[in-house]
């Protein structure tokens, strides 16, 4: 994404996210127990990593964007609500299918999009599209960085 920039000192969203995420990963991995991890532990660690990814991305973006603000607020205030939604529950939701199949049209899709984009509930369609645009950009950055990290960790 930022192939043009090779200097790590440039503070782009990507660099900021990378740094924060790596720090968080370090911290998480330090918490690892020596023993082989149990599935629960792995699951918990997975959630922590995911949370770290979200937090580092949102904080890298800062408060400039509504979705980052909403995500940070949700994390700070609704950690209990968010993480307790176990993966199983989420899977069940996915099993039930995408809501967009039920609701057609722009409005219906907009509703689905609102659920996807953090903080999208309290936005009008116009700003929702704005936030979606930025959110997609940041998500793709996140994915790229994380894949590179994973590659680095796995391959070496």
């Amino acid at each position: 994404m930022n192939s043009k920039r090779f200097s790590p000192t440039s503070s782009t969203i990507k660099s900021r996210f990378t740094r924060r995420f790596l720090r968080a990963l370090l911290k998480i991995n330090r918490q690892r127990t020596r023993t082989p991890s149990s599935p629960m532990e792995i699951c918990q660690r997975y959630l922590k990593v995911k949370l770290a990814a979200d937090v580092s991305m949102a904080s890298a973006v800062g408060s400039r964007r509504a979705w980052s603000r909403a995500m940070l607020a949700k994390i700070r205030h609704g950690v209990r609500a968010g993480s307790t939604t176990s993966l199983a529950m989420r899977k069940r939701k996915i099993y039930h299918g995408k809501k967009s199949t039920k609701e057609v049209g722009i409005v219906g899709n907009a509703k689905v999009l609102r659920k996807l984009v953090p903080g999208g509930e309290a936005m009008d369609t116009c700003s929702l599209l704005d936030e979606t645009f930025h959110y997609i950009k940041c998500l793709s950055t996140q994915v790229k960085v994380m894949t590179r990290i994973a590659d680095q960790l796995c391959s070496t």
């Binding site: 994404m1 930022n2 920039r5 090779f6 790590p8 660099s15 990378t18 740094r19 790596l22 720090r23 990963l25 370090l26 998480i28 991995n29 690892r32 082989p36 991890s37 599935p39 792995i42 699951c43 997975y46 990593v49 995911k50 990814a53 993966l87 199983a88 989420r90 899977k91 996915i94 099993y95 299918g97 995408k98 057609v104 049209g105 722009i106 899709n109 999009l113 996807l116 369609t125 599209l129 704005d130 979606t132 645009f133 959110y135 997609i136 998500l139 793709s140 996140q142 994915v143 790229k144 994380m146 894949t147 590179r148 990290i149 994973a150 590659d151 680095q152 796995c154 391959s155 070496t156």
Partner: protein, 566 residues
């Protein structure tokens, strides 16, 4: 209450000295004070007040000369004050005299005269009434009595649209809809005194009157008031010096100007439009608004697509027509108007005659710009709702275009609904990718102590496509190379993570991952894997034997894989 209002006015007048423009300031400040009821009270209190202390805003000179019989009585008083005040004084007492004499007919006749003049200009309200009303924001001065004004007002061909506009002019509780009309005729006067006394107010009112129909009427009014007071103050200084010496002369001249102004205003709608333009000081849309609302009688010709500078030029022209006697003041007035125009935001919002090209709101003054001003395009509905909706729709489609560029594979998609579908899919796939990768990172055994974080950062930041094959390809079980156990576990975990999160949409995600990741090898195999991982079994290979899960990945898993259900 009457006295209170009156006294406050006088106080204001005194505070601003005896300058001619003082009235204007007073008036402007008092604008919000003026209420419909107060108008009547004004006149009554005026009756009691000493005419010499007539600090109240004066009717325009035009009114004075129109009320020919009344002028002489007011002259002596007028001399002491500024032109506008003089006019007021002259008019007020004279008017009162009329009222005292219980001669509503005269006033009615006067009003009707004014009305006729205005009618010629296409406006329902008479200049005089307008001016009076303008000055007081309610025409209180000219309310001869409780009963007179209503009569006279009733004589005015009610311009329903105008009245509607005036009614909407919330800042000024004007009697009926005379207010905005007052502004325009006042502007047409063009006289310096007029300008100062009434012109300032004209600007204020003009800007307000034309903007009153819009949402930002309050804003404009307030700002206009500020502007007016500011400009008035400046004018006062100018005119105070000159006025002191030659106030009588000025008064006379103002009268003349008023006459000329009225004549100009009456004769030419174009002048009025110009004047209106002039007075509104920068509200290009305002004239068009008036057009739409009043039918554009007065401003039909000149207002369309007039820019502020042009309005100033017109103003100068009008002033030249009206009174070359005070060119300096006219120039100052123009500057004042310009300043006011600069300070005042374009008042109109969306209403327009529909004939203008789309005009961006950014053309108006940003500091006080509060609303987006749009011009309806030719042949399009000028309903405010439809305009706003059109703006909204255009914004949305503009953003959809951006999103189309961002989301891969959407260039050929047309239509917002399908586009939104694709966007939703893409967002979901990205989110799941993040989940998968975080799972991967959680399960990876950090053989490195992460000391190489710096190296990692550099490497990661230097996005080179080489080492980053998106992690999938080497980890794919398809290859099934002799992998490290952890790596195998990662593969399983990754697959299961993917499968778990995208159970129903794995195909979608797969299809999207393929173009996105670019390095996706053998994507066709993924569905098979995912189907095995239907129940989100995370298979961790740590060498520990766990309860074998019935679901196995392709059956080729090395033994000892532990499956974790999440």
């Amino acid at each position: 209450m009457v006295l209170f209002w009156w006294e406050s006015l006088s106080l204001f007048g005194r505070s601003y000295g005896q300058c001619e423009g003082s009235y204007v300031v007073v008036t402007c400040d008092q604008m919000d004070m003026v209420g419909g009821d107060k108008d009547k009270f004004e006149l009554e209190s005026r009756n009691e007040e000493d005419p010499m202390n007539f600090a109240a805003p004066s009717p325009s000179p035009s009114v004075d000369w129109r009320f020919g019989g009344l002028v002489p009585t007011g002259n002596p008083m007028a001399v002491s004050k500024g032109s506008t005040s003089m006019v007021v004084d002259s008019f007020g007492p004279t008017l009162w005299d009329q009222s005292q004499t219980a001669n509503p007919q005269n006033l009615g006749g006067l009003f009707s005269d004014i009305n006729n003049v205005q009618n010629s200009a296409g406006n329902s309200d008479t200049l005089g009434i307008r001016k009076v009303l303008n000055l007081k924001g309610g025409g209180g001065i000219f309310l001869p009595g409780n009963g007179m004004l209503p009569q006279s007002l009733s004589q005015f061909p009610a311009d329903s649209a105008f009245i509607e506009r005036a009614a909407r002019f919330s800042c000024f509780n004007v009697n009926g809809g005379n207010f905005s009309d007052m502004v325009n005729p006042l502007e047409s006067m063009g006289g310096t005194n007029y300008f100062r006394g009434g012109g300032m107010m004209q600007e204020v009112f003009g800007g307000n009157g034309q903007s009153h129909s819009q949402k930002n009427e309050v804003m404009n009014v307030d700002e206009a008031f500020k502007d007016v007071s500011m400009s008035v103050g400046e004018h006062e200084h100018e005119h105070g010096a000159t006025g002191g010496g030659g106030s009588p002369l000025k008064n006379v001249r103002s009268h003349d100007e008023a006459k000329q102004g009225i004549g100009v205003g009456g004769s030419g709608p174009g002048n009025d439009s110009d004047e209106a333009e002039f007075s509104t000081a920068g509200g290009q849309d305002e004239p068009s608004v008036l057009e739409g609302t009043t039918g554009g009688e007065r401003f039909a010709g000149g207002l369309e697509s007039k820019k502020r500078k042009r309005s100033e030029q017109d103003t100068e022209l009008d002033l030249a027509k009206v009174g070359p006697q005070q060119p300096g003041e006219s120039a100052k007035d123009d500057t004042e108007i310009q300043q006011n125009g600069d300070q005042k935001p374009t008042s109109t919002t969306n209403k327009s005659s529909g004939k203008h090209g789309k005009q961006g709101s950014q053309a108006s003054d940003p500091p006080k710009e509060e609303y987006i001003h749009i011009r309806a395009r030719r042949g399009q509905a000028t309903n405010s709702h439809s305009l706003a909706e059109r703006v909204r729709r255009e914004k949305i489609s503009e953003r959809m275009k951006f999103l189309q560029d961002l989301v891969p594979g959407c260039s050929k998609v047309t239509g917002k609904a399908v586009m939104l579908d694709e966007i939703i899919n893409y967002v979901q796939s990205l989110q799941r990718q993040v989940e998968f990768l975080s799972m991967k990172l959680a399960t990876v055994n950090p053989r490195l102590d992460f000391n190489v974080e710096g190296l990692l950062s550099k490497d990661i930041l230097q996005s080179r496509a080489g080492p980053s094959r998106l992690g999938f390809s080497p980890d794919m079980p398809m290859a099934y190379p002799p992998l490290h156990s952890s790596q195998q576990g990662l593969i399983r975990a990754g697959l299961s993570g993917l499968g778990s999160s995208s159970d129903l949409h794995r195909r979608t995600i797969n299809s999207q991952l393929t173009p996105m990741t670019g390095g996706f090898k053998e994507p066709t195999r993924l569905p098979n894997v995912w189907e095995d991982e239907l129940h989100n079994v995370v298979q961790m290979s740590y060498g520990t034997s766990a309860t074998p899960n019935s679901q196995d990945v392709d059956g080729s898993l090395p033994p000892g894989h532990m499956k974790v259900e999440l």
